[in-house]
Structures are given as C-alpha cells and as structure tokens.
Homo-oligomer: 197 residues x 4
DNA sequence: CATGAATGAGCATTCATTCAT
DNA sequence: AATGAATGAATGCTCATTCAT
C-alpha cells in the first residue's frame, strides 16, 4: 500500500519535472511559474506544492534530474571504452551529441543554472559544488587515468578540463548555423589529443 | 540649452544603468525589478519609465553598455600590439583580466544574456547577432590576420574562435578557488599558440 | 461535489458582479478599479482575477448580467398580454418602470455601454450586435406581430423602434425633477399608439 | 502686448481642445490622458497644465466648446425660418445632419457627457443644468412659440421635447447600417408634425 | 492524493501634476 | 510661454503559497 502510494507519488514528481523542463525550454526561467507548469501537466497548482516544498525545491529537483540524465548518457558511452584516449574521445563525442539530441533538456539546464540563486542570492553557476560537479569529475577521472598510465603527457588537469568543458559549452551557442557539429567534433578531438600527448 | 538637457538625461540614463548592473549582480535577473533599481539609484520608479520605454528597453541598453565596456577594454590592449601572435596573447590576457577586475559587470552581463528573452521567447544566448558579436569579431579578425600573414598555420577560424571563447567564459565559473588566474592565463596562451602554429 | 464547487464559484462571480454594479453606480466607470470592487466585496484583488480573466471580462459579464436582468423584467410583463397593442403598452410601461425601480442597474449599464471599448477602441455603443440587441428584438417582435395581425398600420418598424427606444432612454436623463414618470408614461403611450394606428 | 499674449494663449487653448476631441474620438474618455493629448498636439504635457487648471478643467472646456459648436450650427439653420413648423423641421434636420457631418465632435461630446463626473461623483448626464441645456431650450422655445401662435395643438412641451431629443440621440446608435438617415429624417419629421398638430 | 478557492505581496506601467529653467 | 525632468500614487495583473474539503 505504501509502496503503491510512493510509486504514484514518484510518477507524479517525474510528470511535474518533465512539465517543468518543457515550460523552461519554451518560455525561460523568468516567465516560468508554478501555474504554467501545472497547466502544462494538466494538474492543479496546489498539487505541485504538495509534492515539492516550493518553487526552489522543484527547480533543484529538476536540475538534479537533468544532471543525472546527462551524466548517465555520457557515462554509458565512456565506460565501454578501455584506454584513456578512447574514453576522452567518447566523452567529448557524447557531450556534444547529448546537446544536439536533447536540446530541451540542455536549455532547461542552462535556464536553471544561470537563473536560480540560493536564498542568500549566490548564483548557482558560481556555487562551489561540495560533491564536485558530476560531469567534471568524470572528465577529471579520465584525465587522471591517462596521466597515470602515461598515455597522456604532463599538464594541469584543472586547466585542460576547463578548456574542454568550455569548448563543449560554448559550441552550443555557436552551432545555431555557423558551425557544423561534425566538423567541430572532429577538429576539437584532434586538437585536444594533440595538446595532451 | 538643449545640450544641457540632453546631458542631464544622458547622465540619468547612465546612473540608472549602473544601478541596474549593481542590482543584477547582487540579486540576479529574476529578482531584479524596476522598483529595486529605482531604490538603488535613489529615484522614483516612474523616472525609469520616463527614460526607458520599459524593462526590456532598460535591459537591452544595459547589455549594450556592458558589451561596449568590455570591448573597449580589450580592444585598447589589442591595438597596441603589432603581430597577430602578440595581439592574440593580448586578447586572451585582457579578456581574463577584465573578468577578474570587473566582476560586477561580468556577472550582470551573464545575468542578462542567460535570462532575457525576446518577446517571442527566444533566449538571448541563442540569438543570431545580425552585426556579429563585437568581441567575437575582434577575435575573428586577429585570427584572420594571423593566417593571412602566415604567422598562424591552417585551421578553421570558427572552431578555434569557439574554443578560445569557451576557455575564457568557462574559466570564470572555475576560478572561484580551484584555479589561479595566473596559471590558467599562461597555460592557456601557451596551448592556444601551440595549436595554431 | 463538483456541483458544490461550481456553486461556490458561481456565487462568488455574482457577488463580484453585484459589487461592480454598486461601484459603477457610485463613482462611475472611469474611477472604477478592480481594487475598489474588491474592497466593496470584501475580498482580495487577486480573487477577481481568479474568477474573471481580466477587467474587460468582468465588465462584459456585468453588462450581460444587467441586460439579462432588464430583459427578464420586461419580458415577464409583456408575455402576459395577448394583443400587440397591450404588449406594446406593457413594454413601454415596464421599460420606464425598470429604470425608476432599478436605478443602480440602469446607471451601471449606461456606465459600461458608454465607457467600455473593445481592444481596438470601438465604443460599445457603436458596436453592431451580432445577435441583435435583446431588448430591441423584443420590441421588434411586438411591432412585427401588430403589423401582421393588422392591429397596427403601415410604418417602418426600424424607425418606430428607434423612436420608442429613444423616448425611453432619454426620459431617464430628464426625469430628475422636470418630468413626472406617470405623466410621461401615459402621454408617451397615447402618442405612440396614435402614431402606429 | 497683452492682447497678443491673450491671442496666443487663446489659440493654444483651442489647439489643445481640438487635440482632445480627436483623442477622445479615437480611444475614448477612459484611455484619454493628458500625455496623449499633448502628443497629438505636439506640445509638452506641462503646457496643458499651464493653460488648464487640470484634466477636469480641460474636459469642461472641451464640452463647452462642443456644445457651442453644435448649438451654433443648429441655430443658424433655425433662425432662417419664420413659422414654428418650419423651425421645428429645421431643428430636427439640422440636429440629424450635425451628427452625421461632425461625427468626431459628436462622439467626443458623448464621451465627455457619459464619462465625466463632478468631484462628488455626480455623472454629467444626470446633472441639473442650472442654465437649462442650450439645445433643449432652443427646442423648447420653438415648441412654445408654436403653441402661442396656435400653429401647434395642445401638448406637454416637456414630453414632446424629450421624445424629439430621444429620437435624435437614439438614431446615432442605429444609423451604423440598419437605418438610412434620409428615410429616418423624413419619417421622423412627418410623425412629429402629426403628433403636435 | 488532489482540487479549487483565496490571499497578499509584488510586478511593470501610466497617470496628473509640479517645478526649475 | 513653454519645456523636460521628476514624483508618488494608482492601475491591472501575476505570483507562490496556503488551506478546507
């Protein structure tokens, strides 16, 4: 009985989160309201407040959901590979592919990260992740492994990680029409591999 | 006479824009309201509507102001140099330096770009700049010059430009405490120069 | 259950409409605001927006309510009579009586009709009624019936209808103290009957 | 010198009044603001406040201007005639003609009469004219003259005056497309003359 | 578990008016 | 005589949240 209720509750929460993602993509964080999310999910406003403690809580849960989704996709591609070089290549390829394939998710994530703030007004994008940002740490691990196995040369993992992450994020803003994903992917991987070898 | 009035109006507009930047930095785009900007500037709410046609107009003008400020700072550093290599180095150094020195401006700019949307809900960060983003085109010009003078080797300017821009933007989010600006600056420049030569 | 909720909502809507009528009568359309209506109804401003989609919607619903009220009163008097002559007499008597007895309603109706405009600024008083103004059509029907039964003579129903309607409307503005309703009623009926026979 | 100033001032006042009439016609009393009138007149907002003591004062002056214009037009037609019958015919014809020809004036007048209220909220349309409404008194005079000369029969001038006035006012709302002015004019005059003879 | 009703605060905007110049 | 700058109040409206049912 309790399981059933929990199951229903969990399904509702996901339904609400998915509606939130859709609304975030369509009209952006600023215009997104609980009322609009409720309308999109075809439920009453009050129900959101029942399942989440407030707007902030819903946004946090949506963010977690989005980060997990992305992490799972990328990780699934990476763990299939053996060498650090292959893993790094897979990481970059998967990251770019995810952005193209799951555009709604990607935009919703941006909307939350760059708009939400903690109650004391610290922006999420400047927040120190206590438990290190998931995706970064995946990348960090790959770089570390490559250096330990002496596949990669000597470089600051933090710097290279930032460059790679930046190259991935920035691409999204340029892809619109100036840049083909395929060309970018190939060139970027070539360059990164050249740097770290 | 007319000049004086225009002067007063122009001063007011700048005062309001500066108050907007401050508020944007402090509480973020979502929480920023005309009332709070007015309070920060110690003027009445109505006066903002008198000098700007609305909130959107104020935000657009603030964005233009911020982009111009950054462009002027970077450009001043770049035009002093002769060779493309020197110019590129100066561009990266200046870009990183500006972010560190003018943090309020930088955050306000992020807040607007990642939160504002056009009336039909297109996010600014996905907007095609008709007149090519100023800063990008400055970088684009440097890269082009370097290739024409055969200082630089053969590469896609669009890809390299995206990587450089991404490396600069991303750094801001990592600097907080994990990464020293100095180390990042030196390493990044070294890497970029290696890539394009 | 659902009926009960609908009932509550319907009661609220009528409560709000009645408050609107009161305020319209007291201070006129121009000064009437949702805040003042809410205060009169002892509810919060937001509740009005919850039950009506906006000020325009509330005014339209209030107008419909007023037109219906008047139509019902007059129709109740008219359908009791058999001949067209009796019906016409009843129509005029009832119209004049309604204006005297329900002054608040009458003024509120005038306030809306002569002050509200469609979003493209067409005044309501110049609006073409697609479904023919109710009251006019009631009068039109009586006149048509009288001509068909040859109770009345030959005349343009549109012209006569306009004259009767004008005589009723105009009276309201003159009754104040210059004219007794009784005298006007008797004389007007006598004249109209003379014209159309 | 003083004459010149007064002359300029008088011209300005008329310019402002004419702009007010135009705006009233276009967007209605409710949406009409001093700012919009100023814009239409291509002057500054403050200038209106300089020439009129406030919005109410401007509206009162505009109303007076409109009433005078109409009275002059109708009176010019009436005084040319000798007999009361001719005068009454001329009065009705002129009244209807004025409404058709000077539609902007007519609408502006309606907008003011049915929207403006005294500071204690009495609507203008219910106001007792101390100095008897100009137009009514013109009509009243004609009726009185006709009875004194025994051109007209015995009837209550107040009732007949109200009917005539109502028939004229109401026509405006029906003319839109259901009723030809010519037909209405002829029929109305015929009917009225029949009544009073 | 879910709803619809309700609140009160906050929003951007417009307004009539004032005033120094 | 005329302007543009400025105010403060009021407008319609939306919001996140609460609560009885």
């Amino acid at each position: 009985m309790e399981d059933k209720q929990t199951f229903i509750a969990e399904a509702r929460r996901e339904q609400i989160i998915k509606a939130a993602i859709e609304v975030l993509k369509e009209i952006g964080y600023v215009s997104t309201s609980l009322a609009k999310i409720a309308k999109k999910a075809n439920i009453s406003t009050g129900l959101i407040s029942y399942h989440f403690s407030g707007k902030e809580d819903l946004m946090n849960n949506t963010l977690m959901y989005l980060v997990e989704q992305e992490w799972e996709f990328i990780n699934k591609c990476v763990i299939q590979k053996q060498t650090a070089t292959e893993k790094l290549t897979a990481f970059i390829e998967a990251s770019l592919a995810y952005q193209v394939t799951n555009k709604a998710n990607n935009i919703a994530l941006i909307e939350i990260v760059f708009n939400a703030r903690t109650p004391d007004h610290t922006p999420y994008y400047l927040l120190e992740d206590e438990e290190e940002d998931l995706k970064t740490s995946l990348l960090g691990e790959i770089l570390r492994q490559g250096q330990e196995s002496e596949e990669f040369g000597d470089f600051s993992p933090q710097v290279i990680s930032t460059i790679i992450q930046g190259a991935i994020s920035e691409s999204m803003l340029t892809f619109q029409n100036k840049l083909s994903v395929e060309e970018y992917k190939e060139t970027l991987i070539k360059i990164i591999l050249r740097i770290i070898n």
